[in-house]
Each structure stands twice: as C-alpha cells, then as structure tokens.
Symmetry: C2
C-alpha cells in the first residue's frame, strides 16, 4: 500500500499548522484527501502566517489557539488519526533571552499534548518535529542518531526533553510516536521577516530587496539543507509506517556546502546580489555549532526516503515564490 493512501479521509491535526513546514504539510495532506485541522497561535515572532493556506483555507479548518492551552488541546486531539506536532519555539537566541517561554512551549506543552493523547486518543499516531540542535557542536561528521546530545542553548535542551517525552510515551503507554530531527529546512512559506529562526530566511529577503546580506565568521561553516517538500514527504512516511514508533530519525541533505558557497549559489539563482562577511555577534558566537551535516541513512533504510530537490533548484523555487508573494511575508 502506498503511504499516501493512509491519509485519504484521515483526520489530521497539525500543531504549528500555519507555520512554514506545518502549512506545506497541510497543503499536501489536503491534496491527499485528509481532513486537516491546523492549530496555531500566530505569535508574531514565530512562523505562523494565514497567507500560507489562503488559497486552500476552505478545504481545511484553522483553529487559532496556543498549544499551551491544555483544555483546548484536550478537545482538539480527540478523534484525530494523526498528529503532526510541529508547534515550537525555534529561535536559539530567543531561548537564551527568555528560557521560560521556550520551556513552556517546547517542554510543558509537549507533555500536556502527550497526556491528552494518552487519556483521550491513545490510538493516534504522532510525528514530532525535532531538530539537529539537540546534538550541539558535532564531535564527528556526518552526525548520526548515536551522536552525543550536548546542546549549546536552552532550545536544544528543551527540544531534547520534548522529543524524549514522545519516545517515552510511545514505549511506555503505546501512544505511537516518533521524532524527526530536522536540519536546515528552506522553501516557500518560510519565515523571512528576520534572522530569528534561520539565517536563510533573512538572506532570501535581503537578496530580493537588492540589499547585501551578512555572513557571520569566515563563511566556511558547512551545513546541509532540505527543501521543504522533501521534509513533508518524510513526515508522511514516518506517520504512515509503524516501523517508526518509538524511534528518532535524522533527516539531512546530500549537498554539504559552506555558507559562502551557499551565498554565491543564491546570488547566482537570483541573477545578482551581494553579501558581507562580518564577525559573529557575541550572542550568536557562543551558541554557534561549527560545521554540521547529518547521516540520514537510518530513516532512508527503513522508508526509502532520499531528498529529491537539489539545492540550486530549491533555492530558485524559493526565490520565485517570495518574489511573487513578498507583500505577505515582509511584515
């Protein structure tokens, strides 16, 4: 059975559903015939944006609420077949400035969501969006799932706890859950207002605006990247298959490029642009992770997943999207 057929007529809840990955996932699920409910708090500093689903909003349900609202979540979780749990505070810098907000969203809410599943919907299948940030500075490359967890910011610590709650509840209570540790994900509908979530967002914006963008350090830091459609496909595979239950998987990209090479590739895709190499701001230097790229063979072997969209193609698609819809993403 093709994994896509699992979602035809299925009831699906997506937390953080108006955000970057959540909304791309929602659109895909709508196409596959799912009955999709999006939960999003639309906190301005986070990634939620109503425009992300404007052209399909009649085919899904938008529930504007916060995952910290325990009672609301209890009701929303009932009767769902799948829960894509993507709501989170994702800014590394913000987690250091306000560690308690990060704790509430990335730990406490996860625990209350899992308690709700355990009590009201133990048959639901959950896919949790985790992050490469749980590893901290790589001790070796590529980073596989056995790499020690030595996070360099509060966000990394709280995401570890959130991830571990999911695996624990899956193992102890049988509320089937798995986690995907995402690397740098980019594509249409990402947050491009500022550098809060990823440097890529602000680079795209400045490039389109014809302004120079900044590259911290020496620009030689290596990263891997996933185009959002590939990540959406991974979420669907992880949700549909029970082989994922109780497990944690890396996603990752095949192209390992320095930030400087990426900057030049983006300028090429954009037919022009400029960047400046500047020293690390202090608050970023202390939590920078150096080089990172991941080993995603574990997920690949079970689910046959491989990223399909090459970086150049993905960047071009992303630039085209934001050139067309700039007005909905700049403010």
């Amino acid at each position: 059975m093709n994994h896509k057929s699992s979602f035809n007529g299925a009831r699906v809840l997506i937390t953080g559903g108006l955000g970057f990955i959540g909304s791309n996932l929602a659109r895909r699920l709508v196409d596959l015939g799912a009955r999709v409910v999006l939960v999003d708090s639309l906190i301005p500093e986070y990634g939620g944006n109503l425009f992300n689903v404007r052209d399909c909003e009649e085919k899904l349900t938008i529930n504007i609420s916060d995952v910290r609202d325990e009672y609301g979540m209890n009701q929303l979780i009932k009767r769902q077949d799948f829960l894509f749990n993507l709501a989170g505070q994702t800014s590394h810098v913000d987690s250091m400035v306000n560690p308690f907000a990060d704790l509430e969203i990335n730990c406490r809410s996860q625990l209350s969501i899992l308690e709700a599943c355990r009590k009201y919907n133990p048959a639901v299948k959950i896919v949790f969006a985790s992050t490469r940030q749980v590893y901290g500075r790589p001790q070796y490359l590529p980073v596989n799932e056995k790499h020690p967890l030595v996070p360099v910011d509060v966000n990394g610590i709280n995401k570890i706890a959130g991830e571990m709650y999911h695996i624990l509840y899956s193992n102890i209570y049988g509320t089937r859950a798995c986690a995907l540790r995402l690397t740098n994900t980019y594509g249409p509908r990402m947050r491009v207002k500022d550098a809060r979530q990823t440097f890529l967002g602000i680079w795209i914006r400045l490039l389109i605006e014809g302004k120079p963008f900044q590259l911290f350090g020496d620009g030689l830091q290596i990263r891997d990247f996933n185009y959002v459609d590939d990540v959406v496909e991974a979420f669907l595979l992880a949700a549909a298959g029970d082989e994922s239950n109780g497990k944690v998987f890396n996603l990752g990209g095949d192209e390992h490029v320095s930030l400087k090479s990426l900057a030049e590739l983006m300028i090429g895709c954009n037919d022009g642009g400029k960047y400046q190499i500047v020293p690390f701001p202090a608050e970023r230097k202390s939590i920078d992770i150096g080089d990172y790229f991941s080993d995603y063979s574990c997920f690949s072997e079970i689910f046959g997943w491989k990223p399909k969209v090459e970086l150049k193609q993905g960047i071009t698609l992303t630039l085209n999207f934001f050139q067309k819809y700039a007005q909905y993403y700049w403010e």
Copy 2:
C-alpha cells in the same frame, strides 16, 4: 590546599537541605565551619525532615520555602559562595502519575535558580545532584558518562534537562557548575516512610519493624550503592575544585550485588528478618532498568575520590541509626 578548608567561613546554600543527602551535607559543612542556609519545602512526599538537623539547628539557618518560588530564590542565592542544588522530585513512579509537578521542580525551578545565579551571583559555584536514572536501561556495564541517555520515565527526562541547563550556564555564562550522577545512595536520614524514593528505605523500615519486605521480579537485578558520607565527600570535592566546571560525573559503588544478596546481607546485619519475592507491579515493571552499576573512574581520576564505606558497614550504621530514631522517621 585541602578541599575542606574551602568551606571554613564560606556561605553555602543547600536546596533540598532538610532531605536525606542535603542534611548530611549540611551537618558536614557546619563541622567544616561553613555558614549554611538550607532551603526546603518539607513537602510530605519528599525527603525533608526537620529532625535531620535538630541537634545542630542553632549552627545553621533553615529557610522553609519552595525552589519554585522564583522571587524568594533570587534573594536566597545572593552572596552565597556555594550552591548545592539538591532539591528535586525523585520518585520515578510519581513522575509518571504527575509529570507536571516533576517538570516544575526538576526543570523550571532549575532554570530559575540558574537565572538567579547568572543575574545576582555569577561567582557562585554550583553542584547539581543528578541521577543514574538519566541513562535508562544500561546498554553496557559498567555505565560510564558516555552511555546514551535513554530515560525510562519522565523523571529521567526532566533530570537530564536540569543537568544540561547547569552545564550550559557554566559553559555559556561562566556560572561555574557541575553535576554528579548519583547511584543508589543510602544511610542515616534517608526517607524510610514508603517506597516512593528508593526500595532501600522501606526495606530498612520493615526490617526494623520485624515485617517481611518485598523484592520485585527475580531478585537478580544488580545494583551498586553509595553510603551517604561518601556522597557528601564527593559533593565537597566537586564544589571546591574548578576542574569540575561544566562537567558531569558518575558516582558509584565498588560492590555490585543482586537485590537478593543485598536482602540477605541486610537480614544478616539486622540479626534476622524476612523477605518475599513477588512479581513486579505493572507501574514499576515498565520503568525498571534491569542491572545497573556505574564506572566512576572519571570523577576518581580528577579528584581521587573512592567510596570508603563498605556495604555491610554502611547498612549496619544505617540500621543502628533508624533503630534509635525510628519515631522521627516512621510518619
């Protein structure tokens, strides 16, 4: 310089200071000439007991309050030279029944304590009491600090976060902190009311009361043990030396014994007693970790620490203590 001289005249705050390890540490610090303040909430289910320091209460300050009281903690942390951070919810079973209380105490309070140190007392040295529970079921023995962290209960997850916050604040902000991962610790002043914190407490009590105690499973599970005086010494060493900053260390015992052998040893020390082998209660089976003993060579190499009190001697000292002071610990 002997590490003990570090504490003469020093200002010391101990959270969980009326509890088992906290009170033994407090008594030792008073003997070493420290100016000791104990913070404890005396929550009945936890380990705090005013009798633990009754004979020396004029030589220290007792502040009955909860580490969740952020404003109170901000004041208490100011001007301290050392913070022994021992307050915690330690029951594995309770953490599954009420995961939010565990989160508040083991995560949120730790974060607010560290924020208070960062803001009001960045020169303080912190030693955090962590636990072998962070490892979950051992994948190999003895368990060293590189062992993967796969906790089997909410308590283990939250203790990981609490521990990681300490190391992070030490590395990023220079608020010097380290963590000791404790194994089964026993001795005078431990909680013996029930099996909430450790099976050893209730075994001691039932033995003294002349009642049979229960051993779950087949009794062949291996454990290691530390007598509380050895653990107190480890806390002092870790606090006095800056080599510990930003690091996590196992403590551990040299005698690796099955629970059945321990039961028989205890009956021997007590000149009589009985135990029953019974099947695991469901709520304990799912979070049982199998065999465990730890490799504490990392701490030993840096600080020359070794446990000194043999199990037989320690159990005898413990039984003698509780025989004498039963009335203060039974209710």
